[in-house]
């Protein structure tokens, strides 16, 4: 005890303490961290990998390379498409399932597109192929994205803390720098919401299971479904864009109506 007290002021003591602390934290974290629960992902049939590879080579390799290793455009450090090893089947399902991929032309951002080029089976095959290259997040199971099993109120709180700064309080979307934007998330399926969170497309951060547990993700999905379905109390929401659209409405329609009535009553002589 005495010997320890004497060395208390040794210069190395601090370093040792820090290392100990870090080690402890790491150990506790490893023990307690939520593991990527297998129940949350859907299993993909193995035989479709070959089929997926063929589809990928035919449709995606011009940008992503023959083996999904990524390709440069040749001008500067611009890429035609990023390497895809490790992005997981979830990324493929999200990108192709929302019509973002195959990208029609390079732009600041790949926009969602209603024209989906592939059947769900084909998408699953390509996902299986990409997942076979390196492990990555998988496509969520039905249960993981079932809005009826989530808690919308808790999801709302999580949404406002994690997502509203980019996507707006009502999921109406918002601007990011240099022409990039967070798109509206009205009418997006639960599976794609989930996949967006686990893969973090483009400027969106990745919300892995340590940041947001699968249950929290389901709560957020439940919240987004609730506000999608709720009819808006109080009348037309003016795009749910906040005070800007309200001010514009006041100046254009409010003032217009009031001035028109002033002109009308002013023109009425006695």
């Amino acid at each position: 005890m005495n010997a320890l007290a004497a060395r208390r002021r040794h210069p190395a003591a601090i370093a040792i303490l820090i290392i100990l602390g870090l080690f402890l934290t790491g150990a506790v974290y490893a023990a307690l961290a939520p593991k990527p629960a297998d129940a949350t992902t859907r299993a993909l049939p193995a035989q479709s990998v070959e089929e997926g590879k063929a589809l990928f080579r035919a449709n995606c390799s011009t940008c992503h390379g023959l083996n999904a290793e990524g390709r440069a455009t040749g001008t500067g450090d611009q890429i035609a498409g990023p390497p895809l090893a490790g992005v997981g089947a979830a990324a493929v399902d999200f990108q192709v399932g929302t019509g973002r991929m195959p990208l029609p032309r390079p732009d600041v951002q790949a926009p969602a597109n209603n024209e989906i080029k592939f059947t769900q089976d084909e998408i699953d095959s390509m996902g299986a192929y990409i997942a076979s290259l390196a492990p990555g997040p998988g496509v969520p199971s039905e249960e993981a994205v079932d809005p009826t099993k989530g808690d919308a109120a808790r999801g709302g709180e999580l949404y406002r803390v994690n997502c509203a700064m980019c996507h707006n309080f009502a999921g109406a979307g918002g601007a990011l720098t240099r022409g990039k934007y967070a798109p509206p998330i009205e009418g997006v399926s639960g599976r794609h919401i989930y996949e967006a969170m686990v893969t973090g497309p483009q400027s969106m951060p990745v919300f892995n299971d340590a940041n947001l547990t699968p249950e929290s993700k389901r709560d957020i999905i439940a919240f987004l479904y609730t506000i999608d379905e709720a009819e808006s109390p109080g009348g037309m929401p003016l795009g749910s864009l906040g005070p800007v659209s309200e001010g514009l409405f006041a100046w254009v329609f409010g003032l217009g109506l009031l001035v028109a009535s002033a002109v009308w009553i002013g023109a009425k002589s006695a």
Partner: protein, 582 residues
């Protein structure tokens, strides 16, 4: 009982002198109630005076009325809201009928606003009317101000009322901000948080000020109750008091009128308050109320349930203040970050301070002193009761447009993110556009407006001098053709020549006749220079001599009517200055 015959007691007093010999005779004609009131207050005479006052009629004179009525609607609906609103930051768990927030922890202020919206009958529509009329109040007030400015209605003797109006405008936006911050939703909390940041940028005292305002560190429990007393007591009292003075001065000084035949600096042509004007104004109140209610019934405003309760760690895209605070928010968005620096270990936030703390008072002070400035420059100390056509004061009109442009650039800049997504543009490009626009567009607006005014004035002169082209081709006996110009001034063209000619002030010599330098010479030089700025290229109205000369050179067969047309106000009675002064 009511049909009982005259009682004998009345008969006893038959010979008495009747009691009607009081000055309230005018009110008696209105009805028994007015007479009853007059007997007890003697109000008939002043009320009769007010009722006989004549008001000129024009739609643009009703903009102020729109503002007034919207404010009254705010007061009425606001009183309703106080019955249920709980101004407390106290913590509670929501269990009302809005499902997506059940079980969420929030402040009592927010919970009570949800309650008003979802569980109190008629609560939501009243909240929406309150908020829409707050927005419309300030819109109408601003447009009313434009009218007063561009027609020169603020000139002597109405400078004081202009200054009162500027204070009202400032109070209105502070009132709005306070109200907007009450429900403690995500946006109002973000607004208060921003306000705290702004106050903190006050050099040296910033941090202490924040402690004083919030009663401790942000957010604390104090700010909502404090904003509440400001919002429902302090500022409304000031608003109503100043507003009464504002209207009182209008009565006292009489309303201005647009120039026209028969209208002079000494009379008011229009309708008496009773019955015409009162009926119109009373009806108009219900029209305004109706329109506000209609808008509130079909268009949602401030959906606080969608914003969620305030949480310091959350923000939302599209977080903007209500429109009237937008210009300050826009200024903040435009100020570049490198303006922040450190001096003697203190951080000086010049990237925030000018937009947050300087701009707001500056705008309203400049607004308030403008009439005094213009009077000093023009040296015009006469009273004015006839309005000016904006074109007849090109420099003032230009200044007004430049100011509106600068304000609008800031206002639009506060919506740069919404514009970016809706127009598919880059927010960075938009910000640069507004930054440059703030410096380039106002002078441009000034120049363009002034040019337009001058050319309109020249066209007016042309019309007077050469008449309107009638399209009638006349052939003279000796075979010449010409188009007849109609040079007769019709009564409505009188407006083209009624305004006063102007000229820059002459500079007095810098030294007096004894060769002693006058101490005021420097100030005079500035004044003369400003006066030249105002009037150097003035286009003055056609004088009778010019008119005569023009017609002399013109076709002989055209008769010249005297330009002085007599009053043709029709049925409108004329209140002479003498009549109005008893």
């Amino acid at each position: 009982m009511s049909t009982a015959p005259t009682r004998p007691a009345d008969a006893l007093r038959q010979g008495d002198r009747p009691a009607e010999a009081r000055p309230g005779a005018a009110a008696r004609t209105v009805g028994g109630v007015a007479g009853w009131v007059d007997d007890r207050t003697g109000a008939a005479k002043p009320v009769g005076y007010l009722m006989k006052k004549v008001f000129p009629d024009h739609w643009s004179f009703m903009l102020g009325e729109i503002a007034m009525y919207s404010m009254i609607v705010c007061l009425l609906t606001g009183a309703f809201l106080t019955f249920w609103f709980v101004p407390s930051a106290g913590h509670t768990i929501y269990d009302g009928s809005y499902v997506p927030l059940r079980g969420v922890s929030m402040s009592e202020a927010y919970a009570s606003t949800l309650n008003i919206s979802f569980d109190i009958k008629g609560g939501l529509i009243i909240r929406q009317i309150h908020h829409w009329s707050a927005l419309m109040f300030i819109v109408a007030l601003v447009v009313h101000m434009f009218r007063v400015f561009f027609t020169g209605a603020f000139r002597k003797p109405r400078e004081i009322n202009w200054a009162i109006g500027s204070v009202l405008a400032l109070l209105a936006i502070i009132e709005g901000f306070a109200g907007y911050s009450l429900p403690d939703d995500l946006l109002s909390g973000t607004g208060i948080r921003a306000m705290q940041g702004f106050v903190q940028t006050a050099p040296v005292i910033g941090t202490y000020l924040v402690y004083a305002i919030f009663g401790g560190p942000f957010p604390g429990e104090m700010i909502i109750p404090r904003l509440y007393s400001a919002h429902i007591l302090l500022i409304p009292a000031l608003l109503v008091g100043l507003f009464t003075a504002h209207i009182g001065l209008v009565f006292l000084q009489k309303h201005t009128q647009y120039p026209g035949p028969g209208r002079t600096e000494k009379n008011v042509v229009g309708f008496p308050v009773m019955p015409v004007y009162a009926a119109k104004a009373g009806g108009f109140f219900f029209i305004v109320f109706g329109i506000l209610a209609l808008i509130s019934a079909v268009v949602q405003i401030n959906p606080i349930w969608a914003y969620g309760p305030y949480d310091p760690s959350a923000v939302t895209a599209g977080a903007q203040p209500d429109w009237y605070m937008g210009f300050a928010d826009g200024a903040l968005r435009l100020l570049p970050g490198w303006l922040e620096f450190e001096i003697f270990g203190y951080t000086v936030s010049m990237n925030i301070f000018p937009g947050a703390l300087l701009l707001l008072p500056l705008v309203y002070v400049v607004l308030g002193v403008y009439p005094f400035l213009e009077r000093w420059v023009t040296g015009d100390n006469r009273e004015h009761h006839l309005l000016q056509r904006p074109r007849n004061s090109p420099v003032r009109t230009g200044i007004g447009m430049a100011a509106i442009t600068a304000y609008s650039v800031l206002l639009f800049a506060s919506g740069n993110d919404i514009m970016a997504i809706k127009l598919g543009m880059s927010i960075n490009d938009l910000t640069w556009f507004f930054r440059i626009g703030f410096f380039v567009l106002p002078p441009l607006a000034f120049w363009v407006t002034k040019r337009i005014c001058l050319s309109l004035q020249r066209r007016d002169r042309d019309t007077v001098l050469h008449g309107r082209e009638t399209g009638t081709i006349v052939r003279t006996p000796d075979g010449r053709f010409f188009e007849r110009h109609d040079t007769e001034l019709t009564p409505d063209q009188w407006i083209l020549v009624q305004h006063e000619p102007v000229a820059p002030l002459e500079l007095e010599p810098a030294v007096d006749e004894n060769g002693v330098a006058r101490p005021a010479a420097r100030k005079d030089r500035l004044r003369a220079r400003l006066s030249r700025f105002y009037f150097a290229d003035a286009v003055n109205p056609v004088t009778p001599e010019e008119l005569a000369a023009a017609h002399y050179h013109g076709e002989e067969h055209e008769a010249i009517e005297p330009s002085e047309t007599s009053a043709s106000g029709g049925a409108a009675p004329i209140e002479s200055a003498e009549a109005g002064r008893h």
